[in-house]
Amino acid sequence: MNIFIVEDDLAIFESLKFRLEQWSFTVTGPDDFEDVLTSFLIQEPHLVILDIQLPAFDGFYWCREIRAVSKVPIVFLSSRDHPMDMVMAMNMGADDYIQKPFDTDVLLAKLQALLRRTYSYGEEKPDVLEWNRAMIDMKRGVIRMDGIEVELTKNEFFILAVLVESSNEIVSRDELIRKLWDDERFVNDNTLTVNVTRLRHKLAEIGLGEAVVTKKGLGYVAITL
């Protein structure tokens, strides 16, 4: 996936490029802000990120120019927060409007959602996950083993899912809390401890009590037994 970033602030451009490349996107920018369209036509990107305040012409202008020749998803990135700017951007054919300063994770999530919608890119998460011969039903939030079904609370289930997704790797408490917050579960340290303890008790009911291991001072691991 090729992403074309039109941003005149070099620090932001470089950081974004670095971050997106970590997610194995290819990132390019215009060679010349006087003629963004030519660079765009040469690069043929899958998605365009546009700043509004640019040298020579503004982002709205380039959005119209690009829209005249292409249906590529366009995301605006700007510090302007007036509803008028957003309305204008959308009217010119933008697909999203993200305000500066933004959270990189939020930006990434939005980009991925857009790309997925446009190109059916990226696999949908499977509904059922197998872990230590147990079946984790992502839709219903239950874990089943040998006919015994254990129901988990939303928090417990989310923690289990995160741990199992990176099986046999340590997930730090900070990372877990951050992921929970990203999912709008605003927990603190104590709640996490309580939740993990409860999760372990419930897992013990189906004989998987040892499968979530605490690494003192590091975090938790979901191990394959």
């Binding site: 602030d9 620090a11 932001i12 950081s15 974004l16 670095f18 971050r19 305040q53 510090s79 302007r80 927060d81 509803p83 500066k100 300063p101 933004f102 959270d103 990189t104 994770d105 730090s172 900070d174 809390i177 951050r178 917050w181 990203d182 709008e184 605003f186 927990v187 603190n188 340290d189 104590n190 709640t191």
Partner: protein, 342 residues
């Protein structure tokens, strides 16, 4: 008014009475003038009656301008200087000219002041947007190094900076808040949740949990300014929460159809004698609640914005037992009336 007029014309009236008295005296003393007593009585009566009629007539004519002025003043309409009455006398003319000149001077001055204020507001707004570019660059760098504890400290400081910059932008827009309204049906819980996420790094740094209670409540409001109010109350709650504490956000609809959202922290609380003053400008609280980052501006701004939106803010607290701030929204009817009134 008539008594005032008589008082103003005192010397003229006295002079008339003296003149009449003087004539009577001469008629009485001068033997050469032979007039009947009844005749004297008759012409005296005639003079007095005609003088009273004259007074009433003059009163009507001479106070026409003043009366019109005072009725104009009572009405207190805008653009009074256009509605100034016509004049009959030269001194009224001068008064009118003076008033007109004063009005012109005043309007010139105030329009100049307005221009300066608008200019300043524009300057601040563009400055804030300018600042957001380096802020964004910083944030990207911070996001790259999330694993590093030092960067986590920087992130929560960065957040404070970002909040202050955003607050500044809101202050410069406060004057024109009515022009900025975009009223829509919104889910209170979603709004609050988005605001909590904004404060994520600060909360995580202080190890604070946020819990939601109550069902999803929908209200008709302006999202941006509503979030502004929530943010002020939330930052306050986070600021005064002890490390490891919990903030509870609960939404509810009262039987009368009034929607409200309350934010409860388990901090040190506010002393009863301080309670009435928490929304005052510059109020930073007494011992126990003193905080070096407190400017006493946040709650004052929240209150100012709330008043303009028909929202009521209330605070409940007992010392040592945390604080609850409640945002009470106007019912749909009240809001409609408020919008119509503008």
């Amino acid at each position: 008014m008539f008594i005032r007029y008589i008082n103003d014309r005192k010397s003229w009236i006295l002079f008339f009475i003296a003149a009449v008295g003087f004539i009577n005296l001469i008629v009485w003393l001068d033997q050469g003038i032979a007039v009947e007593f009844t005749s004297v009585l008759y012409f005296n009566m005639l003079l007095v009656v005609s003088f009273i009629a004259f007074l009433i007539w003059r009163y009507r004519v001479e106070t026409r301008f003043t009366k019109a002025l005072s009725s104009l003043m009572e009405a207190g309409i805008d653009g009074w200087y256009i509605a100034l009455p016509d004049t009959t006398f030269s001194y009224d003319e001068i008064t009118k000219a003076m008033l007109l000149q004063a009005a012109e001077n005043w309007s010139k001055e105030s329009s100049e002041m307005k221009k300066v204020t608008i200019h300043e507001g524009d300057y601040i707004a563009s400055w804030v947007h300018e600042v957001k570019t380096p802020l964004t660059a910083m944030k990207l760098t911070i996001d790259e190094h999330r694993g590093n504890p030092a960067f986590r400290k920087i992130e929560s400081e960065w957040l404070r900076l970002h909040l202050l910059v955003d607050q500044q932008l809101s202050i410069s827009r406060l004057a024109s808040i009515e022009a900025d309204y975009v009223i829509e049906n919104t889910n209170l819980q979603k709004l609050a949740s988005a605001e909590v996420r904004e404060l994520a790094s600060w909360c995580m740094d202080k190890n604070i949990a946020v819990e939601f209670e109550g069902e999803g409540v929908e209200v008709l409001t302006d999202v941006k300014w509503c979030r502004f109010i929530m943010r002020q109350l939330l930052t306050n709650a986070v600021k005064y929460s002890p490390a490891g504490g919990t903030i509870t956000i609960s939404t509810s609809i009262k039987p009368s159809g009034i929607a409200s959202l309350s934010i409860t922290d388990d901090g040190p609380g506010i002393k009863p004698h301080d309670l009435p003053r928490v929304f005052d400008k510059g109020f930073t609280g007494g011992t126990g609640r003193i905080h070096n980052a407190a400017t006493g501006l946040g709650l004052y701004l929240a209150q100012t914005v709330a008043a303009k939106m028909g929202i009521t803010l209330t605070v409940k607290s007992t010392t040592g037992n945390g604080t609850t701030m409640e945002i009470v929204f106007p019912t749909e009817n009240e809001f409609d009336q408020m919008v119509l009134k503008r």
